[in-house]
């Protein structure tokens, strides 16, 4: 595969691993990061995180990934799955664009 594609895939994998590790740590679940499906719902269904977990996660995402989620309008769509979080991180000013 070409360099640009590889860079994109590597970047996403790295963020995937980072976000999953963060979720495991913040929510205290006895899971290995790889046990969290990248597209599984995080809240309500899927992992079934709750409002207490939301708060923990938002705090950690801001301090460790520099992703501020100041309001529900931003947080709700961003926190749906691990991949939506990764999308939000990449969409920050300074985040990488996808492989075109």
């Amino acid at each position: 595969m070409d360099a640009a594609l590889k860079a994109h895939l590597d970047r996403r994998q790295a963020l995937l691993d980072q976000v999953r590790a963060l979720i495991v740590k913040q929510t205290g679940r006895r899971l290995a990061p790889a046990d969290i499906d990248p597209d599984a719902p995080l809240f309500v269904s899927g992992l079934g995180l709750d409002s207490v977990d939301t708060v923990e996660l938002i705090i950690a995402l801001e301090s460790e990934l520099g992703l501020p989620l100041p309001s529900d309008t931003e947080a709700v769509p961003a926190l749906r799955t691990v991949n939506t979080i990764v999308d939000a991180v990449l969409a920050r000013p300074g985040g990488t664009d996808r492989a075109a």
Binding site: V52, V55, E56, S63
Partner: protein, 684 residues
């Protein structure tokens, strides 16, 4: 036998309005709130945090932060209690018979390592109270529960006068925790209205409870009559209330049932009404569930718009506001109310000044994190005397965990020490029980998280251990073992009448470690909300009730040494004297010893062991406690020697046939307690 009727003969309060119940009502009557800027400690990211803050308190406070809030809490409690005693003209009683005066306090300010009972003991000492004392550890519903338990102490004959109420002061951790959970209003608390959120408060309040006979004998005119109380558990979630409001409804129904009153006779409700979306919506549903159509015909207001959410003191301050208003034929309004939120009460008294309403009976209700609900019913006129037959209480099962292993109590060595010494140590129990474990396994093991998980999975396979700290797991395992021992299942038709009464005044060391670690790592204002939510002595009870689906009456009391026994005594009184519960699990947990022990008590059951008598008295007065227990059991005290320091050994002695009757006695902590067990066939 005639039921004891309980009069409220005095009251006292300290709040954001200042010292005195008079100051409290004056503030409400003048339509102002007690909110001011929180300046006692820095509030991090909060722009201009408001709270129902106490006015500056005279006297030096310790420099150490932790001690400071606890110290202030004790001082305001003492001030409010003294006002209550003075208003009931009880100075003389205290001087002549202090061991017949009891103190029951809801409070949540506590240091990481100490027990809630230390706080309570301190207050008792300052007041000269020497009767049985207990803390109630359910935070937001604690003082309402304290009033109910105070009533039970009178009924049980353990005291002649009860000071019941609560006290709490704001701490940085409290504000940070509520902020992290997103529960604080950006403005001023507006229950049932906009905007969402609560404003914290602080203060202390007490009512003086006495029997009708005593009030008459002393020529004291009751302020009101405490007709009944009810407790329930949501069995739902750590921080959010059951959205259906069913738990609140159960507590209110239980209170009305205890009072012998119908919804049509209720003229006013003082709601918990914190102002948060979750609480207010659930609470209105609960009120409708309990009161039916009546809920929409009567004023339902919350005084948190005036006082803020005073945690352990919330219920009592709100009850006092209700009683003070009634003196003038009024009810407090819901301050800051503008537009009703969806699911707001039909008549939330959204006005700024109190409204004329001469209710005959009123309900005060409160709910807490970990799902414990409490409600009391007060009336203006004296009730007709009712006849009540106390129910027999039997021990259907027992569950014991020691060193994170289920202990086979049948191997228990039933030799015990005599409690002539006032110093009943938990080491006796450890010695007794590790002998049991050692006999069975060859060795006693220390704290072992995997052993605990395995034990819990076996004892309660449908209980989700994730999100349970070790205290919660230990208690749940012991409770599940007790149910299994008694072949009891909490089926759908039983769970509303099955509850848990926990004797515990300590915080889980594991939770405290996690809590402090999160603060050290991320700063106070980003503390871990899960640890914050579990940082209550009642947290294990809430988790256990949720895991085993126990929705009936229950609470958490703290008396220090021997609080497992006290919990059993309170549970027995509750079971025998009212019709709201069929099954109460009662006992204690000590995470530092990896131990928990629970009795499954059944009202009118047919197990081989009967809890024939119980008694509570002041610290060191175990003889008096035993006297009460023996009198109730109708036995002669001489047949009960030696006394066991734990109920485990006593129950086992009777169960195994080694004794026809046995007593478990503790003299320690801030209450002594005696439990008398006998073989069911021996019961006179």
């Amino acid at each position: 036998m005639l039921r004891v009727e309980v009069a409220v003969t005095g009251l006292g309060a300290v709040s954001g309005y200042g010292e005195g119940a008079g100051a409290l009502w004056r503030g409400i009557a003048e339509g102002r709130d007690a909110f001011g800027p929180i300046e006692r400690f820095p509030c991090g990211p909060l722009a201009s945090p408001l709270g129902g803050v106490l006015p500056p308190w005279p006297g030096e406070l310790p420099g150490d932060d932790e001690l400071r809030w606890r110290d202030l809490c004790v001082r305001v409690a003492v001030s409010a209690a003294r006002e209550a005693l003075a208003s009931a003209r009880l100075g003389e009683v205290l001087a002549t018979a202090p061991e017949r005066v009891a103190l029951v306090v809801g409070t949540s300010v506590q240091q990481d390592q100490l027990g809630l009972n230390d706080q309570v003991a301190w207050m008792a000492r300052a007041l000269g109270v020497r009767g049985p004392c207990a803390g109630v550890g359910t935070a937001c519903s604690a003082s309402t529960g304290a009033v109910g338990l105070g009533r039970d102490l009178l009924e049980a004959g353990s005291a002649d006068v009860v000071l019941a109420g609560g006290a709490d002061t704001m701490t940085p951790e409290l504000v940070a925790g509520f902020h992290a959970l997103g529960l604080l209003s950006r403005g001023r608390c507006a229950p049932f209205s906009e905007e969402l959120g609560t404003t914290l408060g602080e203060g202390a309040g007490f009512v003086v409870l006495e029997s009708a006979e005593r009030a008459i004998a002393r020529s004291v005119e009751p302020i009101a009559w405490l007709r009944g109380y009810g407790l329930s558990g949501d069995a739902h979630h750590e921080t959010s209330p059951d959205p259906s409001g069913a738990g609140v409804a159960r507590a209110i129904r239980a209170a009305l049932g205890d009072a012998g009153l119908a919804p049509e006779q209720v003229g006013y409700v003082n709601a918990h009404g914190t102002g948060t979306g979750a609480n207010d919506a659930a609470e209105w549903r609960g009120l409708q569930g309990a009161l039916g159509a009546r809920a929409e015909q009567i004023p339902v207001s919350s005084t948190k718009g005036h006082l803020g959410h005073a945690q352990g003191a919330a219920g009592i301050l709100e009850l006092i506001a209700t009683l003070m208003g009634r003196r003038e034929g009024k009810v407090p309004p819901t301050l800051h109310f503008t537009r009703p939120r969806r699911g707001a009460p039909a008549d939330p008294v959204g006005e700024s000044l109190p409204r004329a309403c001469a209710w005959e009976a009123a309900v005060c209700t409160n709910s807490a994190m970990a799902g414990s609900n409490a409600a009391v019913v007060v009336s203006r006129s004296a009730p007709a005397r009712a006849v009540r037959t106390p129910l027999l209480v039997t021990v259907a099962g027992m569950g014991v965990v020691v060193g994170a292993r289920a202990a086979d109590t049948r191997a228990t060595d039933t030799r015990a020490t005599d409690t002539r010494a006032t110093d009943t140590r938990a080491t006796d129990m450890r010695a007794v029980d590790s002998r049991a474990a050692a006999t069975r396994d060859g060795r006693a093991s220390a704290t072992d998280p995997d052993a605990l998980s395995t034990l819990l999975a076996k004892a309660a396979p449908t209980a989700d251990p994730r999100g349970m700290d070790p205290s919660a797991q230990l208690l749940t395992a012991a409770a599940a073992l007790a149910l299994r021992d008694g072949a009891l299942k909490i089926t759908t038709d039983r769970r509303d009448r099955a509850g848990l009464l926990l004797g515990n005044g300590h915080l889980s060391p594991a939770t405290v470690r996690a809590f402090r670690a999160s603060i050290a790592e991320r700063g106070l204002w980003r503390l871990a909300t899960s640890s914050f939510a579990r940082r209550m002595p009642s947290a294990p009870a809430g988790a256990c009730a949720a895991a085993l689906d126990l929705r009936g009456p229950g609470t958490t009391i703290a008396t220090g040494e021997g609080e497992s026994l006290c919990a059993v005594a309170f549970a027995a009184q509750l079971l025998s004297s009212r019709a709201t519960g069929d099954l109460l699990l009662a006992g204690g947990v000590r995470e530092s010893e990896s131990a928990a022990e629970v009795l499954a008590l059944v009202a009118g059951g047919d197990g081989p062991v009967t809890l024939a008598g119980w008694g509570l008295a002041g610290p060191g007065q175990h003889a008096a406690a035993l006297q009460q227990a023996v009198a109730r059991a109708g036995l002669h005290p001489s047949g009960l020697r030696p006394h066991f320091p734990t109920f485990i050994a006593a129950v086992e002695a009777v169960r195994s046939g080694q004794a026809t009757a046995a007593a478990a006695v503790t003299a320690g902590g801030c209450a002594s307690c005696a439990l008398v067990f006998c073989r069911t066939t021996e019961e006179p």
